[in-house]
Each structure stands twice: as C-alpha cells, then as structure tokens.
Symmetry: C2
Subunit: 636 residues, 2 copies
C-alpha cells in the first residue's frame, strides 16, 4: 500500500488505554503519534519532522503519565507541534479531524497558537521565551491561589538564545519548583550539529551554576525519563532535565548517524516534508516497530487509514522568482569586488542562501547560532573595525530580537547590511511567529538606513549591488523566500535609483504600487482581472520601503489613483512611506491614494488561501479596487 | 572655598607622570579624576556619580599601566563615562576644555558616543552589548591581521541582561583570549542592591561554566588588580575579573554602607548630581585623601581651579507637568478598582514612578531586574493566566529590547499594558541611547495595540483610566519624564476618546497637532510667536499615536494647514498616522499637512539647547511654519 495514511482516533485511544506497563504503552503510543505526525507533515507538504520525532517519546510520556489537572505543558521551540497535535488528537483533547488540516486555513497552525487551538497553552515559535513564560504562569497561579506545575520543552539549539539564560537566575531566585524544563537534546539544530554551529559547552554545569536542579537521561528511554522526573520531584528548586535524544528518532534514515561532524554537512530533515518514497520507508519502519511493540503487549496492530481526498492546492502559474538563491549568488559576486565584506548568520545558512558563500569564503563567514543580539552587536564592532558585515536571519527575528542592537549600530554611523528572508505573509504554513509583516515598521525609523525589497531576481541583483557598492549607509534588505510567479516576465534592472521603481505595466485608470514578488504578482493578476471590466491598471514595482520619491511616483501615476500594496501590516509599511512622500512632494496626488495591506494577525495556511483570506491575492485586490472606485463615484 | 572646581590639565599630567610606585601613583591619579568627574557631573547637573566612582580606580589603572597601542578599552554599561572623560582629558587624549561641557551640546555626551568623541571606541549605554562587541573587534582584527587586546568594563546589574550570557559561550568557543572583561561589582544597581533586585547567584561559577577563565579581586586595591590581570595574562581563554568595588567609592556618604539590605531601600547616588553641600563635602574628602597620597609620594598637592562661568541654563517658564509621579498615583488608584492589575519593573522603580505602588501592593509588584525580554514574556503568561500586567521600563529599552516578545504577547490576544517613560528627545543629557525617538515606529504596527501619549497630568490620569478599565486590548503608554512647562493651564480631561484629542488653543491660520508636553508646549510657544506676526495658530493635544480620527481632526482644522509635531523621528511617528488618517478620512485636508520631527540621531545636551538644535523648540517650530507658508504662498 502506498500513499498518505494515518491511525484513526479509536485505534489511538485503544493504544493509549492498553492495560500494560506504562513505559511500554507510552513507547507504542509515541509510535502511533509518529505515524500521525508524519501524515500531517506529509499532507501539509511542510513541517519539522526531525524535532517532532526527537521529542515525541517525551511528549507522549508527559501526556499519558505525568500531567494532571492544573498542570501546563508547552514547547518553547514550538516547531515540534505536529507531535503535540498528534498526541492531543489521539487522546480526544483536540478535534481529530484537524489532523487533516495541518498548516491549512482554520486548521492547525505550523507553530502553536493559543488563539487558534484549544489545549495550546501559549504561542511559541519565537525561540527562547519558554522559561520566562513558565515563570509568569507560576507567579500568576501563586497570586491567585491556584496550584499547578509547568513543564516546558526546549530545543538545544534554542539554548543559544540569551533570553533562556536571562530567565534562569530569577526563576531560581524565586524558588519556582513548580517548573520543570526538559531539553530535547537532539544535538542538531536547523542547519547541522549544535556543536558545529555554536557549541553549548557543559550544559548541565551551566544550568546548575544558575541554581537549578539538573539531571540528564536518555530521552527515548521512558523508564529513565520516569525515574529522572521522580528523582527531581521533591526538589524545591526549578528543575531541568537534559534529555538526550536523536533528531528524527524512530526513522533510521532521518537520524543523523551519518551526518559528518563538520559545519558544512547539512542535516536534511529539520524542516520540509519527506519525499513520497521517504514517506513510504518511514511509515514502514515505524509501523513494523509498532506492530512488534503491540504484539509484545498482546495487542492487535493498528490499522492505517487512507484519507479521502489528500489534495494539495496547485501553485500559481508561470515561472517562479527564486529570490534567495539569486541573492546568494549575487552576494558571492559582491564579495569578490569588496574584500571588506563578511557574512554573519544565525543558524539559517541554508534558508538564507549562504551555503555556497560559506564554502567559497570560509574565513569571511561567521556562524553565530541562534543568537541574533550577539550577532548584530558583533557586526557593529566589525564595522567599526573596518569590515562591511552582512547580517542574516529570518525577517521576523532579525527586525525584532536585535532591534535595539541594530539601532545602536546605526547611531555609530557605520555601514551594516541586514538581510531578512522569509519576509511577508507567505509562506503561510509556519504561522505568525514566522510571517514577517511588522519588520518595516520595526526598522523603518532607524536613521540613515535604507529599506529595500526586490520583486524579481533582476531586482535582487541590483539591490545587492546597490547595498554593497553604492549605499552610503546601512541597508535592510527584505526578501520573500517563497518561490513566486509574477505572472509576467520581469524587465531587466540595471541599477536601483533611490526612491524610484519600475513601471512593469502601464494603465491610466489606476496604479498599483508595491514591493516584492507577492504584491507585484498579485497586482499584475488584479490588473488582468480589472482589464476584463475595461479598467486599465498599471503596476509599479517600487523596491524602496522608505525614502520614496513622491514626485517621480506622481509623474508615473499621472493623475490616476494609487493603490499602495503592503505585504506587511497596513500600518507602518511602505504605504505610509508613499503617502508621506506624496503629501510632501505631490499633495494633489496624495488625495487619490489608498493603502492596502495586512489588517490582522496573519492566518496560518497554504499560501494562496492565506492571501485570499486576507484579501491580498489578485482577486482580493481587484475587489478592493472596485469597491474603492464605487465609493469615490458615489461620493463624486 | 566653595563652588565648582577642578584640577587643571597640567596638574593632572604631573600626577600621572610622578616617578613613583605605579600602584600609589594610579590611586592618586584616580582621585584627581574623581575630582574632575565630580566637577563635570555637578556642572552638568546630572550624571552617574556612583558607578563613575566605583570604576575609577580600575579605569585609571588600565589607562596608566595596562593599555598599549592597538588595545581597546570601553565600558559596556557606559554611564560611568564621566570617569573615562576625566582620565582621557587628564592624559591629554581629549581636549581638556571639554570637561566643562559634559552633557552640553557639542560637548561630552552623557553616554559614550563613538560618533561624537575621539578616543571613544564604541557607543554604549544600551546595556549588555559589550562582550558581543569585543568579539566583533577581535574577529575583525584577526581577519585583518591586526593584533590588539580588548578590555571591557561591565556593571553587575548589567549582567541580568540575557545578551551578556548569549555572548559568553561563543566567545569561549572561539578561544578569544584577547578579551578581558572586568565586572565593576559594586553590588548596587539603579534602584538598590543587586541582590535585592535580581540576585546574580554565584557569578564566578556561572561564568566559569561557560568556559571562561575567571578570577576576582578588590577593585580598589590596584596591586591586587595588577596581580590578578597578570595571573590571567597567559590564559588562552577569554578572561573575566570580578572586581569587588563600592558604589560611590571614595566619597564615604555615597558608599552604601548604611543602605538597608531590603528591596525598598533606595540608593541615592546612582544618577543625578549631588547637592551643593554634598558637592563640598565630597570635594573636601577626596582632596584631603589626595593631599595625603601625594605627600606620601613626596609630591606637591594639586591646585583646585574655579571655572570662569559655571552657568546653568534657566528652565522654561510656568508650572511644570509632572507626568511620571502622577502616573504612579493614577496606577495605585487603578489597582484599587482592578484587582487583576499587577506591576512589573526592570530596575527603574524610582524613575518609573512605582516606589509607592511597591509599598502599597508588595505582592502585586514584580521586580524583574534589567531583563526586559524575560519581564515581557513573563507578563504575557500572567495575562494568559488571568492577570492584567502593567510592564515598565524606559521607552528606549521597552520598545526595542523585548520587541519580539511584545509582538508574541500581542498575537495571543491578551491585554498587557506597556509603560515607557523617558520618552522623547529630552532629557538631552543622557544621549541617544536613552533619547527614545524611535519607539512609536518600533511598536506602531503591533496589531490590536493602542499607542497613547499624554501631554498633561490630566491626560495622564485619563490615559491610565482608559488603558486599565476601558481599552479592549493592549496599550503602549508613552511618558515624557522631564517635568515640563506647557506655557498654559491645561484643560481638564474627563476621559480619552479614541482617535481624538483636545483643542487647547484655537486659530484659523494653522493648527499644530502633537502629543506630550514637549511638543504641545513647544506648539503653544510657537503659536505665541506667530501671533506676533498676526498669524492665529491653534494647538491640538492629540494623545493617540495610532488610530487617529481623521474626520474629527479635519473638522478641527477647518481648512487650515495642519503641522504634525513628533517628539520622535519624523518617519514612523504620529505624523505618519495623522497623514494616513487624513488621506483616508479627509483627503482634501491631507494636502495641507506637514510633518515636523527629529531628522537625525539626537544630540546630547541641555534640554532647551537640544530642542533648539533640532528645530523643535517654539522658535524653531515658528520658523518652520513661516518657511512653509512662504513656500506655499510662492507656489500659489
């Protein structure tokens, strides 16, 4: 049998309720949940199998044997959530039908979301916040006379975040023994081995030095986990268990047995979905082991159910712009001309397009781990010492976690280039912790810093050229990571002209202005739809998110209304910059401007359905324009 | 003799060059610098005497005996900078005349500023960044084939910041033995004892667990400091010295001998200037000791020079609005009605107006130390657990350091109130690390969050009432800390109406719109000046920094041009929100709007001279209006 399949809820509940040794029962239950988590990830087409599997024995044990009424459990890293969903669904604490809707609209978000999912305790996915939150829960409970323990799962790469260490000492000082932290010590973070990215040193000794009770155990040996938790139960201090696990545990080829102990070897199952063939092999392996476990318990095997319609949405038409890979190429070219250029990365080398740079310029590549504040301040000093640092992370993290550090650098008058990928509302799968729709606002007032977002591969090359070789000061380069079809062949761009963009489509009835392939592509689609109504709409790709040339834009619009499109909250995005430029440079045009953007916390889901839900796909944009024109006609 | 006095450069140089035992010479030199640092602080009317004095023996020793060409020294905490200035001026490495211009325009900024002062290595004052910067310097130097050591001074309260711990492990992993960190372990942070605010635990053991070579010594015993540094010199690991010091060391009444070991006892000499009487006593004590030291070295005493014109600028006219104390009162009243209200603070209890709250509601007050990320995530969990947390720090820190944590809380749909004091460009003394002119932009796109800034004590009370009892979601309350005269008697405010403000002065030729006493007071002064030209200008106090009611404002303006005033960068501030509201609600009025705000990194200086330098005092605003009217007349 091939194709997607899962274990039905009744079978899940049967295994959970087996009259058997709790350790063996939990191990079998964890494998049931592995099957369902893998199903969810495979069906969604994305997720985090490696960490889901490394933690699933622990999560299963906690939910079957440890947690009681009033206790709280959450994962601080959050991206292991398919495992939690599988457990909660198996136990009937979550509508089981939701397992078919991981990373789909109104389904299960790609990271835990307390506003979306019952039983989720707090929203995580932004790393390092878990222990602080645990303390908040316990202090609030104590104040309100409520009892309850808090169990927090963390990653090990996550421990590179300063907030983890910031939170340890005050938690010990207050004697918050209600808190137990379990570190899923799978030794592999996003790119590769933790030891190669940014080694944790003697983790147990470090945490103990902060006044915590510390123990360690094999995180896949549930008897050992049980004994370890019991041994700590009487402690009046907060407790931390280093649970030694294997990333991808339970699927042999996902475990990093053969991953070389170098920083150039990349682990393949951190995020994304297995290939169909890998999926088959993984299901076979888990199922065979599970059958054996159940047989030893004298229980019948589980049945695997094939879902009715395991459909995927189709992608948009046309050739896709691959901004991040092209960025990586352009950066290498720029480094050839500019010997002062060095690259800093926060454990997202693969996702930020830096794998080849690292190979080409190993001495000019600084892997900083998941430590954005440290990375940015380091870059500031490098700039003072005569280098040109180019700093990378996802936009959601880079614009916020080291926000004060970026400003501190800016006040020093040096030049640092910040590159935030995964910008904007898509991909929608990971959920709002990763959907960067606030970065323009968060960085938009940093003095002397240019903010640019290219919409095509051509613009990416021109943007890198401008940022490295011509920009007088610091630059924030905002990159959409999803490979995205514009719907048209983007014109070549020789060089960026500050404040100005490219008219990619002419039209006298109105002009869409936006940055990035998602907005420009959406504008193109909307223009096509409006053309069916006889309305000729132009499209301007304007890569400048601040410092817009209002006179130029007014000339381009030539009296037609301007619709500013923001792949960002409608407040604080490019639209505000456009309005301000028009009011200052061409007030008569400003009165005809409209802002369109994200108006609420982004939904998690497949890309096109998320855009549609927020009214930011071509259809939604066309509808907004029609409504706007009706209003002005009615008013006029 | 009474009145301000200092040691002239020739005398400083003489002591620095005495043919004597280096330890005794440095101790005498440190006292010379104590006299001059105290002079600078007293003349400026503000500064940080406690930490300047606790670190001055160390800073003197390093500059006289340790630092060589190619080495770098900087203080990560930064607020001890009067001591560094005194040392550098004494050694002829800084224009000596600058000692008369601490915290004055084009003088010496209140925190180190690499863009303003030769010999300053990096800009600090935003805590916790020092070790990261040291690593950046060393890595850049290594890459460029340059040798040099880096000595970093940190505070001890500063070690509560997560970035410190984030930076330790990678520095050890890379074996950056060039770095020596010296902790000025004076045991007292901004409010009181470090142990009472957020105890550091076993500091030495903690740092050692991260792989550093650690030692400790008496930071006022320079022979011990010498021996300790020498004992570490051969280490191939980064090194950290815990230097045990006394806050205010060298002036007996500034040392905390009699400060009770409770968290309610407040240390009196963290910031600010001594009273004239205290200044006299301090000078006498230092000078007597210094005379004795010099006599033992067979050297003549130093002469104290009285400066020619020790003038202070006069304050503005009228009764001053005391927003922060009134905020503290209003918060206590709100807490009486709202039992869920709890308060969190980041070692700024005194500066944030919370001293009385702590005494009144000790169980509902959570002191978090200098750990803003930890504080904010903790507050988020408290909100999930049913409390209404009110979170405090200076606006510059609260809006940036925990920026991602604030967003994470916002996505959970709970209500948290954030209160940022020290907002805006004044006080100008501390310099740009503390002049919060980017917070509106940094937080302005947080979904569901209201941003409000009151301009009068009446509006403060109404804002607290609205935030606690009526706001549907989270609130950022922006408070100017400087006691500021509006120039008029502010009208009573019953309750805030979302999006709308108060017309405090009518006028048909134009309308100033702004928030906060500095802008509203400046607008009033400008209106008075313009009235002399026959121009009737209105003034609107509009506390809403986002979500402005454009229709209401258009009605108020009644066809007159609107001048939006931002005590913030002109990009991303209230002006952008006003323009967006007008374009959406009243486009014909938008064309008449102008934005005025901060356009470059704020200068450090006395309040009125800083405002004037940025064109934001009454005269500057009036001039901007006149220029604008001339332009539109010419254009029209």
């Amino acid at each position: 049998m091939t194709g997607l399949r899962y274990v039905a809820q009744a079978d899940c509940a049967r295994v959970a309720g087996l009259d058997a040794d709790p350790v063996e029962r939990a191990a079998a239950f964890a494998d049931v949940c592995r099957l369902n988590a893998l199903y969810m990830i495979e069906r969604a087409g994305s997720g985090h199998p490696g960490t889901t599997f490394s933690s699933l024995d622990i999560v299963s044990w906690l939910h079957l044997e440890v947690l009681q009424d009033g206790d709280r459990y959450f994962s601080s890293k959050g991206h292991d959530v398919p495992g939690l969903y599988a457990v909660l669904a198996a136990l009937g604490r979550l509508d089981f039908e939701l397992i078919h809707r991981l990373r789909r609209l109104d389904g299960l978000p790609g990271h835990p979301d307390v506003a979306a999912t019952p039983e989720v305790v707090t929203s995580t996915g932004s790393l390092g916040m878990g222990i602080s939150k645990a303390r908040g829960f316990v202090l609030a409970d104590r104040l309100r006379g409520r009892n309850g323990r808090v169990f927090v799962l963390t990653g090990d790469g996550e421990l590179q975040e300063g907030q983890v260490w910031e939170s340890l000492q005050p938690t010990a000082n207050r004697g918050l023994h209600e808190i137990t932290v379990i570190v899923d010590r799978n030794e592999v973070q996003s790119d590769t081995w933790v030891s190669e990215v940014s080694d944790l040193g003697n983790l147990g000794a470090k945490v103990a030095a902060f006044g915590w009770a510390v123990a360690d155990c094999d995180g896949h040996d549930l008897a050992a986990l049980r004994d370890t938790l019991e041994s700590l139960a009487g402690e009046r201090r907060p407790k931390l268990v280093v649970a030694h696990t294997r990333k991808g545990a339970g699927v042999s080829f996902m475990e990093p047995h053969e991953l070389a102990r170098t920083d150039t070897a990349l682990y393949g199952y951190h995020s994304g979905a297995p290939t169909p063939d890998e999926y088959e092999r993984a299901v076979d392996e888990i199922r065979t082991r599970l059958d054996g476990r159940l047989a030893e318990l004298g229980a019948a095997p589980v049945e695997l159910v094939t879902p009715e319609r395991p459909t995927h949405l189709s992608a948009g038409p046309g050739e896709r712009q691959r901004l991040v890979p092209v960025y990586g190429e352009a950066l290498i070219e720029a480094a050839e001309r500019e010997p002062r250029l060095v690259v800093l990365d926060a454990d997202l080398r693969y996702d930020c397009g830096l794998v080849d740079f690292r190979l080409r310029y190993p001495a000019r590549f600084f892997e900083c781990g998941i430590a954005e504040q440290d990375m940015v301040s380091q870059a500031g000093a490098m700039a003072l010492a005569g280098l040109l640092p180019v700093v990378h992370s996802f936009a959601c993290f880079l614009s916020t976690r080291p926000n004060e550090q970026i400003y501190n650098n800016a006040t020093e008058g040096t030049k640092v280039i910040y590159v935030g990928s995964l910008a904007g509302i898509v991909p929608g799968g990971p959920g709002h912790s990763h959907q960067s729709v606030r970065d323009i606002s968060a960085l938009g007032a940093v003095p002397g810093m240019a903010l640019i977002e290219p919409s095509s591969e051509h613009e990416v090359r021109a943007a890198v050229d401008w940022a490295v070789h011509r920009a007088p000061g610091s630059v924030y380069l905002r990159l959409v990571s999803v490979r995205w079809a514009l719907g048209f062949e983007p014109p070549p761009v020789d060089e960026l002209v500050p404040g100005r963009g490219t008219v990619v489509r002419a039209g006298g009835d109105g002009v869409f202005v936006g940055a990035g392939p998602v907005m420009v592509g959406g504008a193109w689609e909307a223009a096509e739809l409006l053309a069916e109504d006889g309305l000729e709409f132009g499209v301007v790709s304007l890569p400048w998110l601040r410092g817009v040339d209002g006179s130029w834009l007014a000339e381009v619009a030539d009296g037609a209304p301007i619709f500013c499109l923001d792949n960002h909250y409608v407040v604080g995005g490019q639209g505000d910059a456009i309005l301000a430029a028009l009011v200052a440079d061409a007030p008569s045009v400003a009165v005809l401007a409209h802002k369109i953007g994200v108006e609420e916390v982004p939904k998690s889901g497949e890309n096109n359905e998320v855009l549609a839900a927020h009214g930011l796909d071509g259809k939604g944009l066309a509808a907004r324009v029609r409504a706007s024109l009706r209003t002005s006609t009615a008013a006029g």
